[in-house]
Point group: C2
Chain length 235, copies 2
């Protein structure tokens, strides 16, 4: 007698109206998160989706479930970027374009910036993708170094460094100067060039130690812990 779940065709297992609401919620969350970051009030998401708050919580019991659903496709794009970079025949150009693309992704979407800089370990579902991307980025680095274009003391951990710096500029400048980040990235790309490292300035001032992978991991975990402690404030 009536197991109810009709499953009209796909394996969603949701009633048609429920599936429709789910999509409305994700769509609304995409907008809200982009504007206010992933800590935006969920009330607002439900309101914009024209859905009761309970419906939102029923479908996405935790904020992270919602974030995961919202940014899944962007994460794929992030993962795809490194593959595109590998396809580029010129190692240095591939390296530079990758940095620029990744930084560009942080622009105009505060939510994705949050996900990129604080939230990798927070969302388990993204961890595998992130790890793979970083590995592939390592290949990119090696290739550019062997071509003699990227300085030898560049390490993969400089990528999170760049992402955090870029996030600072993006969130600091906001829409008042939406292209300011390009200037930072250009400065840094020039600093990353092998010839810069061989110049007298660089020789006189050696690069300080990069953060270790463990340190980066701890840093990201710390942000996660802070977010867990208090879902408020933060800014």
């Amino acid at each position: 007698m009536g197991q109810g779940c009709g499953a009209t065709g796909v394996g969603s297992g949701l009633r048609a109206d429920a599936e429709r609401n789910r999509l409305r919620i994700v769509e609304a969350a995409r907008e809200v998160f982009a504007e206010e970051g992933i800590d935006a009030p969920l009330n607002e998401v439900a309101r914009r989706a024209e859905v009761g708050i309970a419906t939102l919580f029923r479908r996405f019991p935790t904020r992270d479930d919602l974030v995961t659903a919202v940014f899944a496709d962007r994460m794929s794009a992030y993962a795809a970027a490194v593959d595109r970079a590998h396809a580029e025949p010129d190692p240095w150009l591939g390296f530079c374009r990758y940095l620029e693309q990744v930084c560009a992704m942080q622009v105009g979407d505060r939510g994705f910036t949050d996900v990129m800089t604080q939230s990798f370990p927070r969302f388990r579902s993204f961890e595998a993708e992130r790890r793979r991307s970083l590995d592939r980025f390592g290949d990119l680095v090696t290739r550019a170094q062997q071509a003699g274009r990227l300085r030898a003391d560049f390490v993969v951990e400089d990528l999170p460094l760049l992402l955090m710096a870029n996030a600072g500029v993006v969130s600091g400048m906001g829409d008042a100067a939406p292209d300011a980040w390009r200037r930072l990235v250009t400065y840094l790309v020039q600093a990353f060039a092998a010839e810069t490292a061989e110049g007298p300035v660089a020789t006189a001032q050696p690069l300080p130690e990069a953060p270790t992978p463990r340190q980066v991991a701890r840093a990201l975990a710390r942000v996660q812990a802070r977010a867990a402690r208090g879902p408020g404030r933060a800014q």
Copy 2:
């Protein structure tokens, strides 16, 4: 008959016990702001000062009053740094040291980072000091450029850019990698060197437009507006 205000000696105009409490509050706020940023709950400040919440609000009617009191001396230090830089005989060294000092000030004090990156226009009392510092920094820039050590396309608006980038790294890495910011600053200093700008990489990839002073001002104002709208969240 009794106008009450004894004024023990200095012009504080406060009763002795009240003055004592004021100091306790500022001291507590200094600690709390350093740890949690300038949006930290004021409850916590009052608790740590062992003072009733009403006392805090009576003495500092707005959060900004408290922030101003807490960071007045640090702002003086910030202003003094540019003078020290001018005293340095080598223009390039003075320029570099200034950048490093200013960035170092953002480390280990989340509150000061907030004040430096979001809050200049928010706190009128600091506006004059900031403007003067930026002017003096402009002299530093000119001097270093005339010495042929600083690239000609460097502009004073690159300083807020650097501060925002640095703030991103400082808050992102936290105490997990407390020295990571040095690596960013070193990269950037090398990028700022004149010889870097003359290299083939820089020539191939010209620097994008810097944000105009107006854009920077608007960016900072925007952050102020957001902070005014909702004293929560942020993080």
